[in-house]
């Protein structure tokens, strides 16, 4: 025999009450665990994806849309900006460097991004196999993209207009896969990268615009897109990702862009904070529900322990007659409460991970979002420690009652 064995047998003697109490607590803890995993990973994801980007410049419209579209690639472009204007801005004294993005097409829901190699460098993306593009219509795939599409270097595909699976296909110009990236745990994993020129080419055929100028013929290439001449007045891109040169730019550059040009500037930090404050209401509501569940389970554990004291008064008296001290009775009761809450919270944490794991298996989008159910955070240890505290709190009054048992009165039967 041991205290644990005694407590365990007491819990086993009332299986239904025990299961109900554990289940109630596990449910509350599971909700908290899921929210914790979700928001933690989302936060990490967002900070990783916005790292190195101080400002997104695009066509006028919703600033939030500009961020969602050009950083997280989940929304549609706000429109186009002139390459010439973008070039001028990239030479501004407050801009350290600028990366052009040309969006518009996708393949099987994965967005094709026309850009240059500095975009990949921004996320420290490295090739897993194959090579980078050397001419238009060659693409490099992110790791998730390649895994879900099951393609390898050498394969080819036709892109579709927009961000949907069944968009109008550009059959005339097929893309050729040149390389596949290593997982970088960033948005890079879910993209299809190519040169800006590829995107133009696919669309020029449509609108029957002028033929492409051969690359070698350009004397004064554009700093953003070397395949065209600087100051080109016809070409357009979707946006420009900007890194500031110094802190002064934080105040001056957005105001300059928004007032002096036809373009719009949006700050990823500001817009994501705004987004979180909107989503946060829902998270808070779920959290509230979880706390209600935990409170009810604590109350239920307290009631169960308190009621069992009456039935157990002879047990407690006999335990003391066999040599146990008052504090032993106190300890046994506290142990019973904490065993319940600890088991509940361990089951809850496991349940949270399992539910999230099933979710990632069933919902492809959650894989694209990079949600991983098999990551553990130190906060989960805090949850377990907190549940022990909860167990102590709800068994405190019953434990004091047990401590006060008058063995003579109980055993004499009056």
């Amino acid at each position: 025999m041991s205290t644990i064995s005694l407590v365990w047998n007491y819990l086993k003697a009332k299986p239904l009450t025990t299961i109900l109490n554990i289940f109630l607590l596990a449910l509350g803890i599971a909700v908290i665990t899921i929210l914790l995993l979700f928001s933690k990973q989302l936060e990490e994801k967002i900070s990783r994806n916005t790292k190195g980007i101080d400002l997104v410049v695009g066509a006028k419209g919703s600033p939030l849309q500009l961020i969602l579209c050009n950083i997280f690639h989940v929304d549609f472009p706000t429109g186009n900006i002139k390459l010439r204007e973008a070039e001028q801005l990239s030479k501004h004294r407050l801009v350290k460097h600028a990366i052009p993005l040309a969006l518009g097409d996708s393949y099987q829901n994965f967005r094709i991004v026309g850009t240059n190699l500095s975009y990949a460098e921004l996320y420290h993306a490295e090739l897993e196999s194959g090579s980078w593009w050397s001419k238009d219509l060659e693409v490099v795939l992110g790791s998730t993209t390649a895994r879900i599409l099951k393609v390898k270097p050498g394969d080819s595909f036709a892109s579709a207009h927009g961000l949907v699976k069944d968009g109008q296909a550009h059959e005339e110009n097929r893309y050729v896969v040149k390389g596949i990236l290593k997982p970088s745990n960033s948005i890079m994993d879910n993209l299809i990268l190519t040169r800006v020129g590829s995107v133009w080419r696919v669309h020029e055929e449509h609108s029957e615009m002028s033929k492409e100028v051969p690359e070698k013929g350009i004397e004064n290439p554009s700093t953003l897109v070397p395949s065209v001449a600087e100051g080109d007045s016809t070409r357009e891109i979707t946006s420009l990702l900007i890194k500031y040169r110094n802190p002064l730019a934080v105040i001056q550059l957005p105001r300059y862009i928004n007032t002096q040009t036809n373009m719009q500037a949006a700050s990823p930090a500001f817009e994501t904070a705004r987004l979180f404050s909107i989503v946060g209401v829902g998270v808070d509501a779920l959290m509230g529900l979880a706390y209600v569940l935990i409170f009810i389970s604590a109350l239920s554990i307290f009631i169960a322990l308190y009621n069992s004291l009456k039935e157990r008064k002879y047990d407690l008296a006999i335990i003391r007659s066999m040599g146990a001290s008052r504090s032993k009775l106190f300890f046994i009761t506290i142990m019973e409460g904490t065993t319940l809450t600890l088991m509940g919270s361990v089951k809850g944490v496991v349940l949270g991970h399992v539910v999230l794991y099933l979710f990632t298996l069933l919902v492809e989008d959650s894989q694209k979002a990079g949600i991983n159910a098999l990551v553990f955070y130190p906060e989960e240890g805090l949850l377990l420690a907190g549940s022990i505290m909860l167990g102590i709190i709800c068994s405190l009054i019953p434990a004091v009652q047990a401590y006060r048992t008058d063995i003579h009165k109980v055993l004499a039967g009056n």
């Binding site: 025999m1 005694l6 003697a13 066999m322 040599g323 008052r326 032993k328 003579h408 055993l411």
Partner: protein, 212 residues
């Protein structure tokens, strides 16, 4: 073994009870007799340290237990006494075996499986080792309670009405076993009872009367 001098106990300011001095030698079997309300249970609980705040001296194994602190008294009780009550007071959440093992566990002694086997055999309970308490008859349950009381080889067994809930047959069996065990293990036995069936079996009797 047990030496009682000038023992008095106050239930309240108005109601006080004093016991006459007596001495019980090691291995003796005693019966405490008296009407209900005569203080049998009170005396038994005082002897076993279940009740304190008395006046006078109770010496057990040359230790004055009235001078012990509460936790040392708990410890002393676990080591030197075994208790049997009218109701068996077994812990129903535990099996027979685990109920028995509670005794060495709570008194801090070694939990010896062989000792459990031995005691269960002596009380004819070998087949009930893993039974639940609810599955036992009253007589069997009372024998398990006796097994639990003797498991630690205490020097004194204190029994409070151990037979009054039992029918004649069980009563004979239980008291017979208790006496056999006491003789074999040489422990001192003190039984408080008003059960007339036991009177002939004991030659040492202490009769308590109101205000004795």
């Amino acid at each position: 073994m047990i030496n009682v001098t000038n023992l008095r106990y106050s239930y309240s300011l108005a109601k006080q009870i004093s016991f006459r001095d007596f001495y019980i030698q090691t291995g003796e079997h005693w019966l405490l007799l008296g009407e209900s309300g005569s203080g049998k249970t009170t005396l038994l609980h005082l002897l076993g340290g279940l009740l304190t705040s008395q006046e006078g001296v109770i010496e057990v194994n040359k230790t004055n237990i009235t001078k012990l602190s509460e936790s040392s008294l708990d410890h002393f009780r676990g080591k030197h006494f075994g208790f049997v009550f009218q109701k068996n007071h077994l812990i129903s959440a535990l099996t027979v075996e685990k109920n028995l093992l509670m005794a060495p566990f709570l008194s801090g002694l070694k939990q010896d499986d062989e000792r459990v086997t031995e005691v269960l055999e002596q009380l004819g309970l070998s087949s009930k080792r893993n039974s639940k308490i609810q599955e036992l008859s009253q007589g069997q349950a009372q024998r398990v309670a006796i097994a639990r009381a003797v498991l630690n080889r205490p020097s004194v067994i204190l029994a409070d009405e151990p037979t009054s809930a039992l029918d004649d047959k069980s009563c004979d069996k239980v008291i017979g076993m208790l006496l056999d065990l006491a003789s074999q293990n040489k422990f001192t036995l003190v039984i408080a009872t008003h059960d007339k069936r036991l009177k002939d079996k004991f030659k040492n009797q202490l009769v308590l009367s109101q205000n004795s």
